[in-house]
């Protein structure tokens, strides 16, 4: 486990910024505790300082996952955001999309959301904008 380098931090923040914009500073600088990002076996974890101190005493091979996994770095050093970050991204999401109950299953199985399945959408959502999908 180690802290992220500058380049890695930049990559992670750029990805997160696509979904939550400038609200990342609310993740970095929280009023209820010091939270930080750590890299463990190419995966980026978000954890509190208390948990970090506990995890530091676990041997590296035995440590499975400290904190919440936000995503991982691929072999070519690209950052891929993971669905386990959703709980942290959802409250701060800038653009939200609500899917109707009928198309929910279809979306979960990987299909696109058609216009008929779209319940609500934040106005002024640009094309190719990163969004958080909600169910109605």
């Amino acid at each position: 486990m180690r802290p992220l380098t500058e380049a890695e931090t930049r990559a992670v923040f750029e990805k997160l910024g696509k979904y939550i914009g400038e609200n990342i500073q609310l993740l970095v600088d929280r009023p209820d505790g010091t939270y930080c990002f750590r890299l463990h076996r190419d995966r980026v974890y978000y954890l509190s300082e208390k948990l970090l101190k506990l995890a530091a005493s676990v041997p590296r091979d035995s440590l499975v996952a400290p904190g919440t996994c936000f995503g991982k770095f691929t072999k070519s050093q690209k950052f891929r955001l993971s669905v386990t970050a959703l709980d942290f991204l959802a409250p701060y999401a800038k653009y939200k999309v609500w899917v109707k109950p009928g198309s929910e299953q279809s979306f979960l199985y990987g299909n696109h959301v058609l216009k008929s399945g779209l319940g609500r959408i934040t106005e002024n959502t640009a094309q190719y904008q990163g969004v958080v999908v909600y169910s109605m």
Binding site: P3, T5, T9, F13, Q25, V28, C36
Partner: protein
């Protein structure tokens, strides 16, 4: 009938022979100059005029024909060389090329002169010049000219010396023969050591990177300036450990392995500093976002134009437009 056919066949055969001979005989005004060692043939004939001017299929055809003729001549010359079968009876026919005569330019750059050895530097400093020594020395005992060193040298064979005087002031119990042998061994070892040192010095001097100018010239690029700044920072008595950083310089601990091994921040290091660094990074990233969102601006413009058009048509079909307008504007 048969005679006519036979004549036709002979004529065809004759034609084929002539064709074959034509393909391997080439007529040239000036003979080519051959350097078969380099497989080189030089043609001094002036090329046909049409081959010189302009580009086009005719020029291409002429040049190709020229190349074919010259290659034919070169190959004919190669076939006239003495040849033999390599690897026994069934092996390929191998021609023996003569020595190349055409001087080719140097392939690699010329070797650099080696740096002078320590003795050479000292000699140059003191102005000592080499004394030319004769190769033969007069040996009194043998009463003849003997070599200076080597086989049957002038001083007699050192291994057959049966007398070794104890020098004045030396320990009488000491074995003089052993001392002589030991001293020779030490001399040889010292000589060898110095030779290797000189060699190492020459090798190192050859591969040393030329030092970049350490004072700022007007035209240095960013990487060079960064390198120079690093050298300047490390050139203190404590090797840059207590040197204050420049405003925008990243706080990096100096890597002792010269940058070969990656070093990371400590796991539980100063978390407050890490947080502030990340916030600063976010600020830098945020400030570069474009202020003008093109899509939004275009949509705004379109809506404005629509509103104007609607206002212009206000006087005409008002009721109809109102109903339809309202229904169209709802899912917005």
């Amino acid at each position: 009938m048969a005679a006519v056919r036979v004549e036709a066949m002979l004529a065809a055969a004759e034609e084929q022979e002539a064709e074959k001979r034509r393909s391997i005989t080439v007529e040239k005004e000036l003979e080519l100059e051959y350097d078969l060692g380099n497989l080189l043939a030089t043609d001094r004939n002036p090329p046909p005029a049409a081959a010189l001017r302009g580009a086009g299929p005719r020029r291409e055809a002429l040049l190709q024909a020229l190349a074919r003729d010259n290659t034919q001549l070169l190959v004919s010359q190669l076939w006239e060389l003495p040849a033999e079968r390599a690897g026994g009876a069934g092996g390929p026919l191998v021609a023996q090329l003569p020595e190349p005569t055409f001087p080719l330019p140097r392939e690699k750059p010329p070797p650099k002169p080696r740096p002078p050895t320590r003795w050479e530097q000292f000699a140059r400093l003191k102005g000592i010049r080499r004394k030319k020594k004769t190769s033969l020395v007069w040996d009194e005992q043998a009463k003849e000219w003997r070599r200076r060193w080597g086989y049957r040298r002038a001083g007699g064979d050192p291994s057959r010396a049966w007398l070794a005087e104890v020098p004045a002031g030396a320990d009488p119990e000491e074995d003089q023969f052993a001392r002589l042998r030991r001293e020779k061994r030490e001399r040889v070892a010292r000589n060898e050591l110095n030779r290797l040192r000189n060699l190492a010095r020459a090798h190192r001097a050859g591969s040393a990177v030329p030092a970049a100018p350490l004072h700022p010239t007007g035209h240095q690029d960013r990487d060079e300036l960064r390198r120079v700044a690093r050298v300047a920072r490390v050139s203190t008595a404590s090797l840059g450990r207590f040197q204050p950083r420049l405003p925008k310089e990243p706080a990096e601990p100096p890597s002792r392995s010269g940058g070969k091994k990656r070093r990371f921040e400590p796991l539980l290091g100063n978390l407050a500093a890490e947080r502030s660094r990340q916030l600063e990074l976010l600020r830098d990233m945020g400030s570069k976002k474009p202020v003008l969102d093109i899509t939004r601006a275009v949509n705004k413009q379109l809506r404005q134009e629509e509103a104007e058009a609607a206002a212009a048509n206000k006087g005409k079909k008002q009721s109809k437009r109102g109903k339809r307008g309202r229904r169209q504007q709802r899912p917005g």
